[in-house]
Symmetry: C2
Subunit: 221 residues, 2 copies
């Protein structure tokens, strides 16, 4: 079984890559640059794939950036909000139809590479703010991938009912090099420690009872 | 009502653009370059949008080309087959998960531009050879677009049950400048007249009883 793993370079997808290998699948790691200001995550992805000796593919969709205006992740005129992921303000970090785009690219690569699966690290914590992480979306896109080419592409989302701390715990068991992963939306030298994804990252390590190797710019109050 | 119209620059999507305007919608034409060797179609698309004074957006996904190997449309080592569209040999012209990619880009643009609809010119003649034109795929992708962002994106496929000659007839009624459209997969100076899409184009004009303004390289035997 071969699987194309959507690897952002963040916590969840890095654990997914290790989990994919652990489940005896041959993995191809795929990172997509869509104009996100935290480009560092794509470099992180490459390092993680390298650590696991998994083939790494990078796709540049930067040309989409001017069309996908209005998100704090791709439009430098929109500030990245501080705060907790679940808050309304986090809507600013939604990139139009992003996961559908990423999954489409992954499906195309899977067909071209003869892989049977696409793996994607949506998890339960994402549902509230991101429509394209919800179970209804995952189910619908799973059907589309089965129909989009001659051979069905299967969508694998083993973390769909997990909380982020469950993913961190699993990652610790699998020996994921957490220090290589990148979450921060601001994409500075260090993780800022205050944007939604940094707040969630910190919390997940705490709740999982796993030491957090991340150096944050802002210490916790 | 605003609609993002996927405009390849071929017959079907050009008629769709005119039909969209005729149905009192505000249209945005969207062309995607995905490494197809018949790049001429993107230039044709721009001309057609210009003729109708519709805003034109072009997205370059050329970076995908090396990943989407194996199709005659994107891989110059694979010859474009001659013959009829319905034949098995036409499988060589399938680009992995292409329409899913195009529709995902269109959905993202629709969300970013505040458009309610994506319009796409799948028609009944395409079903046999192309999995991503079949009614089951269209239905599934329609559901995905409704779920991929906060606001549902509606998928409009008015030609889904039409034959190509029906589209030509409708285009003639709407005054579509057929001479500006480009179909040929070979992408030479003139339409080759023998590849699947040229054969189908010729036939559709004949069956519709509409004069064909196209200059073909190969005259019909």
């Amino acid at each position: 079984m071969r699987a194309v793993v959507l690897l952002s370079g963040g916590l969840d997808s890095s654990v997914l890559l290790y989990e994919t290998r652990d489940s005896w699948r041959e993995a191809i790691a795929l990172s997509v640059f869509y104009g996100q200001r935290h480009y560092r995550e794509v470099n992180a992805a490459e390092k993680i794939a390298g650590a696991l000796r998994v083939p790494f593919r990078r796709v540049n969709l930067d040309d989409l950036r001017p069309l996908l205006h209005g998100s704090a992740l791709t439009d430098s005129s929109v500030p990245v909000p501080d705060g907790h992921y679940q808050e309304e303000s986090m809507r600013a970090t939604v990139v139009p139809a992003r996961n559908l785009l990423l999954l489409s690219v992954a499906a195309a690569v899977a067909v071209a590479e003869g892989a049977e699966e696409v793996a994607y690290a949506a998890h339960a914590g994402d549902h509230a703010v991101y429509p394209d992480c919800r179970p209804s979306f995952i189910e619908a896109v799973g059907l589309v991938l089965r129909l989009c080419d001659y051979r069905p592409v299967l969508l694998r989302t083993p973390f769909r009912d997990w909380r982020k701390q469950d993913i961190v715990r699993r990652g610790a068991d699998l020996g994921v090099p957490f220090d290589l992963t990148w979450s921060c939306y601001r994409g500075g030298e260090l993780h800022c420690g205050t944007c939604g994804t940094c707040v969630e990252r910190r919390e997940a390590f705490e709740l999982a009872g796993v030491p957090d190797p991340t150096r944050y710019q802002e210490r916790k109050e």
